[in-house]
């Protein structure tokens, strides 16, 4: 019986871990390509939740169709954020880009609070449940996990095997050399920011299919994304996914041994330990 309980908690955590990984991938991509820590990450996740919610509740779109729209809008929003706030400080010291993205974050949260207030919303949508062994799960959570895997593989193939993907990695590796080889680096940076923002928004949309949320709900995911970036290293989507799974697994298991409130403590102790002992991430991508 205890084993079943443990297994259920672990599976629960892992399923969530996939989505954590997806959310972190957006942060990791931007961080890895342009050394910018996007402090608007959390609010973009929340906007993804609201985008999916609004399309579902106002126009009765299927949430997964809504996610496609959220992806497109997320990409465009990301390029706009890059153009408006990030490009001008891309070569400045890190503090400038931190402040710039923090400002974007405050604008999004301010607008979101004004428009949606901070009372929780939820998508009234269900695809029923599925029983795996002794464990029962809402199908929406399984779909979210599968979508996360699919997007990770797609991003990996894109970055490592397509021409534009290689251009992104080249810009990440040596921006001057990339420019000298005829790669329009500003365009690549803007698109990478768009892609990172898109991933965060889609992760938010997926989360909205099974958890209630407010405009502030992105915050905790942003923090988890930092931990995951450090666990998984930058520059490789698979690292982010594994980091997400590790974190999700821990989150599933910890509450069976100690009070839930210990979760963040354990997570951040792990964060500090990895930073100190293996600053390139557990996978050592860099």
């Amino acid at each position: 019986m205890v084993l079943n309980q443990l297994l259920a908690s672990l599976t629960d955590g892992l399923l969530l871990g996939f989505v954590y990984g997806l959310a972190a991938m957006g942060l990791s991509l931007i961080w890895g390509v342009m050394c910018v820590i996007n402090l608007a990450h959390g609010s973009v996740i929340a906007l993804g939740m609201f985008g999916t919610y609004l399309l579902f509740s106002q126009t009765a779109w299927n949430p997964y169709l809504a996610l496609l729209a959220v992806a497109v809008v997320g990409f465009l929003t990301g390029t706009a954020i890059y153009g408006a706030a990030v490009h001008r400080v891309i070569n400045a010291p890190h503090l400038s880009s931190l402040l710039a993205t923090f400002a974007v974050n405050m604008i999004f949260i301010g607008l979101g609070t004004a428009i949606f207030t901070t009372s929780p919303r939820n998508l009234d949508y269900s695809l029923g449940s599925l029983q795996i062994g002794a464990v029962i799960f809402p199908v929406t959570r399984l779909i979210a996990a599968m979508a996360a895997i699919l997007l990770t593989v797609a991003l990996y193939l894109f970055l490592f095997f397509s021409r534009p993907g290689k251009a992104i990695r080249a810009v990440a590796n040596n921006r001057t050399a990339a420019e000298l080889m005829g790669i329009p680096t500003s365009l690549v940076l803007a698109s990478s920011f768009g892609l990172g923002t898109m991933l965060a928004a889609v992760a938010g949309g997926l989360i909205a299919t099974f958890f209630p949320f407010t405009i502030l709900s992105g915050g905790p995911y942003e923090l988890k994304s930092f931990v995951i970036c450090v666990l998984g290293g930058l520059g490789n989507p698979l690292g982010a996914l594994l980091g997400g799974l590790l974190l999700g697994g821990l989150e599933g298991l910890i509450p069976t041994f100690m009070p839930v409130s210990w979760v963040p403590t354990v997570e951040f102790v792990l964060f500090v330990l990895v930073l100190v002992l293996r600053p390139t991430g557990l996978l050592g991508a860099r």
Partner: protein
């Protein structure tokens, strides 16, 4: 040999289709730098530099350490904004163009310190050299040429750059430049930090590239070797072109022999 006075701005007529067949190089240099002035923040490094590169010729730029050779190449590529002066390539004024648009047009720099994509493989570096559409169309043939010239790179094509020796990395830097299908190739410090044999090897490759018709500008510490292979030479001193002319003539100049050859 001439002492360089004021250089007349070179023709800025639009590119003509038959430009590549032009035989009168003096009227239509492939690259013309006129009265270029630039520096860093408020430190001026170049005080009106003018030079021209002619089709199919290997030109060398000499000058002591820290005089501004790299600065000049960076300004020519657009990595550094000129304060005044112009850069004309194939008759087009590119002074305000971005580096990547210059690269697309065939102006390619093999930068000082190689600047390879160190996290990527040899082959990926070469692929990225051929990023522009124009270069991509010649990808296969250029890859074969480069591998024929440097068989070591062919053997190591799937290795990460960080596992290559210094000489191999320099081969890769030159090869990546060649993959870009250059109309002119600017090379900053070809042999810096290489063994004499490796340096000789690379100089031989340059001679072969010249024979194949490539236009090049070479910045090089090894003055004797550079002058031996080049068709024309410029000497940069105190932020200006101090001397220029036929390399054999320059070698007879006592100042040159003392300052750059230590004779």
């Amino acid at each position: 040999m001439t002492r360089r006075g004021e250089t007349k701005p070179v023709t800025d007529s639009p590119v003509r289709e038959n430009r590549e067949q032009d035989t009168d190089n003096r009227l239509h240099p492939w690259l013309a730098v006129s009265d270029l002035t630039t520096g860093y923040a408020d430190v001026q490094i170049l005080w009106g530099v003018s030079l021209t590169l002619e089709k199919g010729k290997l030109t060398t730029l000499l000058g002591s350490n820290g005089v501004g050779k790299t600065t000049l190449l960076r300004a020519v590529m657009g990595l550094l904004r000129p304060w005044a002066g112009r850069v004309t390539f194939l008759g087009r004024d590119l002074t305000r163009n971005s580096p990547h648009s210059r690269a697309k047009l065939g102006m390619v720099l093999v930068p000082e310190g190689r600047q390879l994509f160190t996290e990527m493989t040899v082959l990926e570096n070469l692929e990225l050299g051929a990023f522009s559409k124009r270069a991509h169309a010649h990808y296969r043939e250029n890859l074969e040429k480069v591998f024929a010239m440097f068989p070591r790179l062919a053997e190591r094509r799937h290795q990460k750059v960080s596992s290559l020796s210094g000489g191999e990395q320099q081969m890769l830097a030159v090869s990546r430049g060649l993959m870009a299908q250059p109309k002119i190739l600017l090379i900053d410090e070809l042999s810096l930090g290489l063994s004499p044999i490796m340096a000789l090897n690379l100089f031989e490759s340059l001679t072969r590239l010249k024979e194949a018709g490539l236009t090049m500008l070479l910045v090089e510490q090894n003055v004797a070797m550079a002058l031996a292979v080049s068709d024309y030479a410029y000497v940069l001193a105190h932020g200006k072109i101090w001397l220029h002319g036929d390399p054999r003539q320059l070698l007879k100049n006592d100042d040159i022999r003392q300052t750059y050859l230590g004779l």
